[in-house]
Symmetry: C2
Subunit: 457 residues, 2 copies
């Protein structure tokens, strides 16, 4: 993807260097690596390796690494940084990033760092930290350039130069504010570059401003950026005073995260990068939907039992069919959606493919085991006569569910994986095709296993 | 959401003005409206009204309206614009927008317009039009500022001023290219503003450039923007020569559209703004998944009939249960997903809520009718003896399916709608809760209707 793909350093180059004990080549190598790549690679390193990388980085490079790093990498590195080192790191970081970073440290470290940074900046950071991360206040930076209505282009440029500290505020043009602090106009950097410097700012400023209150939901903020094709969005306090600015780049993550959240919630799992979580956590995230399906299916089986009291063995098996149809569909769509999205967002890199596939299949089988056991227990009692549970029947139904759910999970993982391999967009096939395939084969396996396990039709 | 929400003009103000016949107040009113708002309102106007609005707009305002308008609005307006008017409109439009707009006109009009615009620009536009819309080439603009390696800051600024035509290229800084046209560096507008003008450009340019080939998929382009927090991305031809630039704002739509596509495909419907399509088109988009489910369910029913040949009436009804469990889940999740996403992306505005709700319910009922009829026909023959179809049985099963699918569609629409009304995020409830609810109630209704229609258990 890069200009000269063959020259760009890769994770395996770093791993090779980490196996040697020399520090010099490591530091030289890291100079050549884009901090965004390094931040991604850090997720694959163990703690000792990650600390060696951190030790080989200095100044701006540390700041950039921590700016690009995910929370998981930040959390593993932060305990190893002194308050002084952390102060140096945040010095060169945009204010909104600093707030996100300090939110991961303990209160004492945060206070130590805030005491060391410039007084005015510390006040701004404390203010920023008070906003909910999912709101406009949580996205904005308080470090931007604003000038009064009487300013000329030259004043705006002077103001930019004076504000340009090591931190570097967002590069989002200049806002024009009235004496009360209300935004009345906006001028882009490009406009400043192309206008004679003695021009009054009010002659060139754009006055039809779109803005948001600080408590606006980040999803609404993203809509405004899309709808109005904004480069920057001013954030206001309840009096309408300008208190921060959100940039277009800040919105990329919001758009992706919000869509991701909706997708994963629709298929009944937690809105987090699933493939990076431990297997048991994934099982826990997805069990509520399956539990609901099992309960629903058991209620259906019970009601059908009341409707057809003298149905015989065949009817008894078929009454439990809704459980497996529901479960097979859910388990399959959860696994396939998690994989489809992991491919789509780039969460799933080639080197992780096999281990992610194996772990997803394991997640599905564990869910099958839990649901099968639960059904075994309930069905044994439900189909028992009086106080004597019918264990053979329960075991046949529970075992059949465990087997066919595992099968559905296997399908749900292998279908998108195979599609990706042979070059078909997995999203197209994973939905409809998969649901139907797992419905039919799940039902067939269920009936086959249930009858083999002791209930002949 | 705006600075002074009570003052911002609304659609109903426009509609009131359109009811009067005076032109003057309409033109004055439109001066106050943001073109992005106007573009959205145009979707709600009939053709005569839309043309009156277009007639009241001139110059830059027409260009902006067409820049912000959706394809549906563009398609309705374009036939009413002469090649000359269209030429004036595209004059002030970024090149990537022009290409998208001209793609909607017939070839003759396109050629007329291209003959009227500046020769160099026409060549660039023809080149841009040759790229697939879903690739880096389809997203980029060919109008950006580039300077040689020997340039100074003053040269870069001079170049920006000279390029700044009425069209206004993307405001994405300046790229530095070597004599062969390969990009070697990048300088932001902010950097140019804050650096003394006699500084050599190579002293301040960023050299660690990320770039893409023109045929890169737009999804991969969006990943690069997110991963590297880019403000602009250079696009290269196969020789590595810089041929275009993609800006951060271009990516918002890509991120949203790609996620949307995946979501809607996962639930088995077409990746388009569903709530804005006619009812029958929506039915057509969703039927393939339902047809697959019906076929799968009928196969299951057939196999179960072979496994349990002497089951009697009860077994015969229960063998068809998988169809309704599958259909009820699919129909419910399609409608709820369409509504959840329409709320989330702002596609569903308050004034459209009731009509969208009614049309979605209608879509579900029509799908129920089609699936019920199909099942009626197939089941009649499948359960008939010899050549005599069993119509009463088929009717009972088909009717039960039509009723319970309609019920599931009703649930799938009302649950997210009610959540939105009472302030719960519909995405949380719409998935798991809905699937289970429609499974159980769908199965219950199916059995009840099937038995009432002539098959007692």
């Amino acid at each position: 993807m890069a200009t000269e793909p063959e020259r760009r350093p890769e994770l395996k180059d770093l791993e090779a260097l980490l196996r040697s004990s020399e520090e010099r080549p490591l530091a030289d190598f890291l100079e050549e690596v884009h901090p965004a790549d390094l931040a991604e690679w850090m997720e694959e390193l163990d703690e000792a390796e990650a600390l060696r990388v951190l030790g080989a980085l200095h100044g701006e490079n540390r700041t950039e690494l921590l700016s690009f790093a995910d929370d998981s990498v930040r959390e593993s590195l932060l305990p190893h940084l002194s308050a002084k080192e952390l102060t140096n790191i945040v010095e060169g970081m945009p204010a909104d990033e600093v707030v996100d970073l300090l939110a991961l440290t303990d209160e004492e470290t945060t206070n130590q760092v805030l005491r060391k940074v410039d007084f005015e900046r510390a006040a701004g950071l404390r203010e920023l930290a008070s906003y909910n991360a999912d709101t406009a206040g949580g996205l904005m930076t308080s470090e931007y350039v604003a000038v009064g209505e009487e300013a000329h282009v030259s004043d705006a440029i002077k103001e930019i130069k004076s504000e340009e500290g090591p931190a570097g505020e967002e590069e989002v043009g200049v806002f024009v504010i009235d004496p009360a602090g209300l935004p009345v106009g906006y001028v882009s950097d490009r406009e400043l570059l192309t206008t004679p410097i003695h021009t009054p700012i009010r002659d060139i400023m754009e006055t039809d401003l779109i803005s948001v209150p600080a408590n606006a939901d980040q999803e609404d903020v993203a809509h405004l950026f899309r709808k109005y094709s904004l480069a920057a969005l001013p954030v206001l306090d309840p009096e309408g005073v300008l208190i921060g600015v959100i940039s277009s780049e800040d919105i990329h993550d919001v758009l992706e995260d919000e869509a991701e959240e909706d997708i994963l919630r629709i298929v009944g799992t937690s809105p987090r990068e699933q493939t990076k979580l431990p297997v048991l956590v994934r099982v826990r995230h997805r069990l509520p939907l399956q539990a609901l399906t099992v309960v629903g299916g058991l209620v259906t089986a019970y009601l059908l039992g009341r409707a057809f009291p003298d149905g015989g063995d065949t009817t008894d098996i078929l009454r439990y069919l809704p459980i497996i149809i529901g479960l097979a569909g859910n388990v399959g769509i959860q696994s396939s959606t998690v994989l489809v999205r992991a491919y789509a967002t780039g969460e799933l890199s080639a080197e992780r493919e096999n281990s992610v596939l194996a772990s997803e299949i394991l997640v599905g089988c564990l869910i099958g085991l839990v649901c099968g056991t639960a059904t075994f227990l309930v069905a044994s009692y439900m189909e028992g006569s009086g106080s004597a549970p019918n264990y053979p029947f329960g075991f046949a139904i529970g075992g059949a569910i465990a087997v066919s759910v595992s099968w559905a999970a296997l399908l749900g993982c292998l279908v998108p994986f195979t599609c990706e391999r042979i070059g078909i967009d997995p999203a197209v096939v994973a939905g409809p095709f998969l649901i139907t395939l797992s419905d039919i084969s799940g039902a067939a396996i269920f009936v086959f296993v249930a009858t083999s396990l002791g209930l002949s039709g």
